[in-house]
Amino acid sequence: MAKAYTPGLKVSSRTVFRARRQLPVTGDVLVTAGQRVEARDTVARTFIEGDVTPVPLASLLSVPASDVPGLLLVKLGDRVAAGDVIARTKGIFGFGKKELTSPAAGTVESVSATTGQMMLRGEPIPVEVKAYVAGTVIDVLPGEGAVVETDAVFVQGILGIGGETVGTLRMAVTEPSMRLEAKHVTSAMKGCIVVGGARITAEAVRAARDAGAAAIVSGGIDDADLRDILGYDLGVAITGTEKIGITIIITEGFGDIAMAARTFAILKEYEGREASVNGAAVLGSGSKARVLEVVLEADGGRRVTVPRANIELIET
């Protein structure tokens, strides 16, 4: 059984973990400094501009682009529903008028006399940021988000698949050198973060997903199994957006590799606690980021968290 050691990956039985939770664009921060938050609490919310639907009025009405403004039944800023009549040709002596209905709901943002094109802006899209780890808000970033701090146990892995999730830590094997197979997965693992030892098989991942597990953590995985699970070959280790119904965390690497004994011991010690997990990996040129972490709240030990992959989130 191979073993791996990757300098730079952090495994800590007690650390101060700070999660910087930010909106992609400015919005409303819903928490205040000093406030206690749970992992699933929303800390900030905003709306981003809706999607744009271009409507090629000139070509749809078969008129020159310069004629389009004169044929409009709506004006800039008007809200229209899908199917509303938005333009009508004059026809010849009032006959043969042609009407055009809106293909989508939205607000008329622009109409061009050069191209004869109308831009409809859809409804704003809500965006929320969760606290991600249970802890205390130590800093509010006005209009952007907040920093949540927690006294935690922290485990960082080498590769993850899938996004953030929260669940109860559940050991599926008894030794770090034990392979995690489908037979180790039970229906009692629903909503759990299932922890294996060495290599995890594709069948085990599927079994965990079918059992409704939130995430699965193990030492290694075969490239062939990962391809099987994803349905494609992972070309670069930039992950986190996969939609496979479960988050996967690999702590050591590819192949038959046992989970580091210390990592396994920490996870075992905190079995039954709630954890947050994130499989987003941002390895790439110029990035110092590492992958998955498991953060366990050490004060009173109610909770275990596996937060975001970015090492910048960790300030100890």
Binding site: L159, D222, D233, G255, A281
Partner: protein, 613 residues
């Protein structure tokens, strides 16, 4: 070459220069070199590197620069960095410390990332892409009216990207304005968010039909008004027959300095320190290659294979092209190379049996632990096999991109009609490639020069006589920016210290049954050798870097070594650290399909070229 807008600096008296410091601030490492005037010659004398400090906790690129230059000073026995961390300038001829000029390139923070747009993908959008790539950018996406995406898909895609700037082209001057305005109308409402956050006004460069400029101005607003900073430059495709990339490329460099660099941590200081505009690293490499090709009348190709990407630069007939194969690299992207090439294609270069499952896991482990290096001979063979495929794919992509202008109507004679020549043909001509330069870890740091030479020949498949070289310590970026200040010094250092001449590839174009005569060779002069090669054979004649020889080759009918099928060629050449690699495997290079035959052939070639003992 280009001249870029830059804060006014005192004119440099080239005759008084003696110490030149240059850095290349990469994503992970800042590489510094010292170039000194020794007697009447310019030489690169010292090299040092330090971790780049753009990221937290330092967030100041000049710290890494100071560290690297401090080390250079220690190596040179001359102080270049003052106690306050700034660069010391030499005050007079006898001053025992300081440099005369300091220059730099940068690709830190992911380099320069752009979205380009045009009306027709193969015409104005292709020209826009060439301008961006030539300026040293990474092109995140190319938007065009005929890119097979629906308008809303295009808008959605633009929304997801976070470019440093956008370049819009489209329409010839005086031609249709509707289509280019339509493209602008799709980009503006998408409101692409710049990488550097909300305060940053996204620079948009318009280099399309000049008559569409007023409408484009109306769409993007005056300075800052709609969150964009629009600049209008000359049309990069004023007519279909003409490509005018200079103004757009210069503006990209200016915007790079004024916006992108200005927002990167510590770059305001770095810009103030520098005696020449800071250039994007690949842009500087392209500049020096163009200068060399122009001076010596060469067709040249330079490849830089990195962990994530592979850059290919070429100059053929004076026309420069650069491509970035974004997901072909030897660490972060190694898995993608295997996926794109197919494991079978990778393994065809391996002469021993390997377990595919174990190899696939090894590839993935390299991807997630990018800094690991091969620990066994077998692992090295495999890594070099992957490199061959990465280079082959990157070169194929380059050939597809480096074409004559598409959309040009050609006047044809009756003869041309038979030749079926068309616009949009690749200008990369392997038979007329004079110089092939390698750089990047897997090529530069191969344990033996023979391995570098063999990788180049196997993946690029040069034809006829082609000189092989490698960039000794990756100083082409430094020399590219130096050339903008002191071209002679840059050229001199390029010749003397930058290039390590590996030797020559002498390869026959054509196909023949293995074992059948391909060509005979005779080497005379400083080294004497002769032989006859059958199809499928290779040979190596050791000719040292300072040795000059005459090479005479006589191909069999159907094989071409530069003068046409069956015609002999005689050339005088200087050798290299490897020598002259004769290659009778034919072009295109085909390996035996039978597994045992293939392994035997690969092992035979490796032994003949000195790769295997």
């Amino acid at each position: 070459m280009t001249s870029h807008g830059h804060a006014a600096k005192p004119a440099i008296d080239l005759t008084k220069l003696r110490y030149i410091l240059a850095t290349d601030c990469g994503s992970t490492t800042t590489k510094a070199i010292l170039i000194e005037k020794i007697g009447d010659s310019w030489r690169q004398t010292q090299r040092a590197e330090a971790p780049t400090t753009v990221e937290e906790p330092f967030a100041d690129v000049t710290i890494g620069v100071s560290n690297a230059l401090t080390e250079i000073g220690e190596l040179a026995g001359r102080r270049f960095i003052a106690d306050d961390g700034t660069i010391i300038r030499r005050k007079g001829a006898d001053d025992p410390e300081g440099c005369d000029i300091y220059i730099s390139t940068s690709s830190a923070g992911g380099g320069l990332q752009m979205v380009v747009a045009g009306v027709v993908a193969q015409m104005t959008a292709a020209s826009a892409k060439r301008a961006a790539l030539g300026a040293g950018a990474i092109v995140m996406d190319t938007i065009a009216s005929n890119d097979k995406r629906k308008p809303y898909e295009r808008i959605q895609r633009i929304r997801e990207l976070r470019p440093d700037m956008v370049l819009i082209s489209g329409g010839t001057d005086g031609g249709n304005i509707q289509q280019v305005v339509q493209i602008a109308e799709q980009i503006a409402p998408a409101k692409p968010r710049p990488r550097f956050g909300g305060e940053y006004e996204l620079p948009v460069i318009f280099a399309g039909n000049r008559e569409a400029a007023p409408q484009v101005r109306a769409i993007f607003g005056e300075r800052g008004e709609k969150g964009f900073d629009l600049s209008v430059v000359d049309n990069l495709r004023p007519t279909l027959e003409e490509e005018n990339l200079g103004p757009a490329r210069d503006r990209i460099h200016d915007v790079f300095l004024e916006h992108v660099m200005a927002h990167a941590p510590g770059y305001d200081r770095l810009i103030a320190w520098s005696d020449a505009p800071i250039m994007p690293t690949p842009g500087a490499v392209g500049d020096i290659l163009q200068r060399i090709a122009e001076r010596d009348g060469l067709n040249a190709v330079c490849v830089d294979i990195g962990g994530a990407t592979t850059d290919v630069f070429s100059v053929f007939g004076g026309t420069f092209n650069r491509t970035v194969s974004a997901n072909l690299g030897m660490s972060y992207s190694i898995s993608n190379v295997c996926a794109e090439a197919g494991m079978q294609n990778v393994l065809r270069w391996v002469h021993v049996a390997m377990d595919e499952r174990e190899l696939r896991n090894r590839v993935k482990n390299k991807m997630i632990r990018p800094t690991t290096i091969p620990q066994t001979a077998e692992a090295l063979v495999f890594e070099q096999a992957v490199a061959r495929e990465a280079l082959r794919l990157a070169y194929a992509q380059h050939k597809e991109f480096a074409t004559t202008l598409k959309g040009v109507q050609q006047q044809r004679t009756v003869g041309d009609l038979f030749a079926q020549s068309a616009s949009g043909q690749s200008i990369v001509d392997d038979m007329h490639l004079d110089l092939l330069v390698a750089s990047g870890g897997v090529l530069s740091h191969a344990p033996r020069m023979e391995e570098t030479a063999a990788m180049l020949v196997d993946s690029f498949e040069p034809q006829g006589f082609t000189q092989l070289a490698k960039d000794s310590i990756f100083m082409m970026p430094h020399l590219g920016v130096l050339a903008s200040v002191h071209a002679d010094a840059a050229m001199e250092v390029f010749e003397r210290d930058c290039l390590v001449r590996l030797g020559w590839s002498v390869a026959a174009k054509g196909e023949g049954r293995w074992g059948k005569r391909c060509f005979s060779y005779r080497v005379s002069g400083a080294v004497t050798a002769s032989g006859e090669l059958a199809c499928g054979d290779v040979a190596l004649v050791r000719v040292g870097p300072e040795q000059e020889v005459e090479v005479h080759v006589e191909p069999a009918g159907g094989f071409d070594l530069g003068n046409g099928p069956g015609k002999s060629v005689t050339r005088r050449v200087k050798g290299g650290t490897v020598g002259i690699l004769f290659d009778a495997r034919g072009r295109p290079l085909a390996l035996p399909e039978n597994e045992a035959d293939r392994r035997a052939a690969v092992a035979r070639w490796a032994k003949a070229w000195g790769v295997l003992k």
